[in-house]
Symmetry: C2
Subunit: 214 residues, 2 copies
Amino acid sequence: MQTDSQKKGRKLTARRTARLPVRDRILVAAGDLFHKHGIRGVGVEAIAEAADTNKMTLYRYFDSKDDLIAEWIRGMLAHKEEEWKDLNAAHAGDPQGLLQDWSRRTAAKLRAMEERGSALGNALAELPDPEHPARRAIQEFKVREHKRVVRLCKDAGFQNPNLAANLFSMLLEGAHSCVQCVGMRQFGEHLVHLVDLMVENAQQQRKAPYPTAL
Amino acid sequence: MQTDSQKKGRKLTARRTARLPVRDRILVAAGDLFHKHGIRGVGVEAIAEAADTNKMTLYRYFDSKDDLIAEWIRGMLAHKEEEWKDLNAAHAGDPQGLLQDWSRRTAAKLRAMEERGSALGNALAELPDPEHPARRAIQEFKVREHKRVVRLCKDAGFQNPNLAANLFSMLLEGAHSCVQCVGMRQFGEHLVHLVDLMVENAQQQRKAPYPTAL
DNA sequence: ATCCAATGTTACCGGTCGGTAACATTTTCG
DNA sequence: CGAAAATGTTACCGACCGGTAACATTGGAT
């Protein structure tokens, strides 16, 4: 009847993805559902429906569900890589400020993530196959990221850069795990507080090598 | 032919569970498979087979797969509660030593856990339903555990016990996440090192309130 | 030996899922 | 317009899974 393409009630996600290319709509919908119900808890049919399309079209853009999973993960990783570029651009020559900003951005995301935790961590839990491309991508990314943090800790003047970098990683990763449990909403603030303390310590160490424990 | 009950080749797990009651064999086998392949990646038939029994017997001991999952989780949590009792008994009146021992025991487990991470964390990722009894049990346990750590940090003389406790939790949880990625085998050692530093700092703070960052 | 409880065997059900084929419809664009 | 490309619709397949029923077998205690 009506040629209006906005007929019928659209899904909640559809409003956000109103005029995106189909492939992107699928990826967004898949990401939402994967994160909400778990990768294995979502069927391709539900994804297609949430993306306001159908299963056939989905399979015209992705070889398989595993391919869709991998593309979703790759998208998130690419986004995180760009955030690192932003951070590097915004804090050139100031590794301490960069680390502090990193903790603040992470804390901001933590608050909006409470119930379901980290999508990357959950993906590792749900994809046990070491050969799964999504799993490989995540692990390679984490290794790259950790190397970056070690480099930053060296530049920031930490006495023991490897130890400091591991502390950073554990703090950031641990915060993702901890927010999942009820009543622990203060982890974000404490995370940035602790990183600030670490950075202050690193600065003090340069002039006065007190045994300040980091 | 032969009445020998040890005929045929037994599964690998079967040797460890040779003469355990059926129910326990099922729980052990389920735990192994759940942790290896993910909860949703394992069928009840495979569990029964690995437990050297069959599906019907399994369903005579457990109402459903979800019940089996919950019982498995409850078993792990009970085991962890007992470990806390051991710790309290071994370090009565010495909260600092208790925390150090805790980090050491955790680090020891980390090494034998590399590939698949924490079973509890993975379970949270695989059971998105907030009403799932296993999920509720895990979250309640983590809350209890965190309260215990806060209490310990108070007794250990930390200036800011809440902050210290959150740091402890993030370190321990974060270590579980970090070991999953290739080439990060030093997290165990660094974990105990960092906890030692924290405890030393708490001791120093009592006599000399230097701004030693914790 | 006998009886009873525990365990094993087989077959089955309904449902879901990933994936494909064939065909109809709409959109885009020269 | 008209043709080609993109998208939608329906139906289907085979595989697997959680769960159950009915019946056979074993094994231990008395």
